[in-house]
Amino acid sequence: MWYHKPVVDEELLQSLPNLSVVASSGVGVDHLDLNLISSYGVKVSNTPFVVSTDTADLGIALMLASARRLVEGYEMATSPDTEYFPADWLGDEVSGATLGIVGMGTIGYKIAERAKAFEMKILYHNRSQRKKEEEGAVGAVYCEQVDDLLRQSDFVMLAVNLTPQTRGLIGRRELGLMKPTATLINISRGLVVDQDALVEALQKKIIKAAALDVTYPEPLPRDHPLLRLRNVIVTPHIGSATRQTRRLMMEEMAESIRAGLAGLPVPRRVL
């Protein structure tokens, strides 16, 4: 299944008595009722590691685009109303700034590796601390309390998976702790953020900007305030959107399906 379609609900499971495996694209499985599917004896697989690099790349791309005002700049450069480029049109530098990574899994760590090359100071929050060698390789400092990370970061990057514990992880309180000059970047899942609180924080300039590859729902209704804010970039969930990776995802899903149908152990099994 691609991009959580078809919906795997009771009705579908009952109508497909011979279903043995659901191969889901991407790494997130928050759109699947795993208990329900398991109760029908159906196996579930995902495509975890293959998406990591492109998603990390996109997280960095969004951070840079937001800081350097790329979307606005592109509009200015291509607008028929532009007569000259103003000399005082400026953005903020990423180099040397502080990046706080919330969720230091495979994707979070790749983000740290990339950010290090920009001489960024890297803080991270994770369920557990990473090994010293791993921290040392990217110069990442552990923040056991996410509050400490939020207070110090110029850029906050969300790279957690969506679970009951991470749902609404970034709400009104957390946004209030962030610097008024800070930017929130979300490449995880829309529901990790309290979206209404985010709109309020942006409108009241409690934080400076946001760049979101994921929202809730996707797509956002066309009258949603996030789509009207100048300091918000919204991309349509393109974290893994490169030809090479989508091809690899397809191959992995096909492999998992073939194994499942042959009664063999299913690679990348989630259940």
Binding site: T53, G73, R246
Partner: protein
């Protein structure tokens, strides 16, 4: 006429390298296009996003770009900015760095294992081409029909040096005919481009308003340096950064 000239090199290396990478990523991941799709259908934005497609018809290959993983990056001009760009691209899984210029620079190239090659080979073998050289009589119009015809159909071309290094008509043809996949330009000839310029009509050409060094921090530093150059000049003293004429 005996007029001295001060300038502000070096202090803008990081900001410009950063913008070059930002532009490369925006071009290869189709960021402005995607951002437009994200806001498509919002009445007051009056975006011209074209006909069919859009988010309601999500497909696995919709809005797909090209990744940096296992790629070959070719840098034209491995000066301070070129090196700073290579440094930033390295952790993105780049397999190989190539570079070209007036001559090899083994000490600088060693950090990236970069290989000095002729311009033609750089064009043929690179998945990403980044132009970060100075504009000189030798580099004027260097990126032309021959250059683009040698590049891969899946490659991305980025210029943050000077518009005149690129033959813009040839670039347009290369993009329109699918000879290269995408381009990112922070610099053009002229700036801004006239409103009817064909490059403006291409979805796969990301154009920025010459913002390589446009950050508060860097422009402040440049301004202070320029002022100090000026004051030193007025006092008849050596300038912090004087251009030898």
């Amino acid at each position: 006429r005996g007029i001295r000239v001060g300038y502000t090199p070096d202090v803008l290396t990081d900001a410009t390298a950063e913008l070059s990478v930002a532009l490369l990523l925006s071009a290869c991941r189709r960021l402005p296009e995607a951002a437009k799709q994200g806001k498509r259908g919002v009445p007051e934005l009056r975006l011209h996003t074209g006909g069919c497609g859009g988010w309601t018809t999500w497909k696995p290959l919709w809005m797909c770009g090209y990744g940096l993983s296992d790629s070959t990056v070719g840098i034209i001009g491995l000066g301070r900015i070129g090196q700073a760009i290579a440094r930033r691209l390295k952790p993105f899984g780049v397999k190989k760095f190539l570079y070209t210029g007036s001559g090899p620079k083994p000490e600088c190239a060693a950090e990236f294992g970069a290989e000095f090659v002729p311009l033609t080979r750089l064009a043929e073998e690179s998945d990403f081409v980044v132009v970060s050289c100075a504009l000189t009589p030798a580099t004027q119009g260097m990126c032309n029909k021959d250059f683009f015809s040698r590049m891969k159909k899946t490659s991305v071309f980025v210029n943050t040096s000077r518009g005149a290094v690129v033959n813009q008509e040839d670039l347009y043809d290369a993009l329109a005919q699918g000879q290269i996949a995408a381009a990112g330009l922070d610099v053009t000839t002229p700036e801004p481009l006239p409103t009817d310029h064909p490059l403006l009509s291409l979805k796969n050409c990301v154009i920025l308003p010459h913002i390589g060094s446009a950050t508060y921090a860097t422009r402040n530093t440049m301004a202070v340096l320029a002022a100090n150059n000026l004051l030193a000049g007025l006092r008849g003293e050596p300038m912090p950064h004087e251009l030898k004429l």
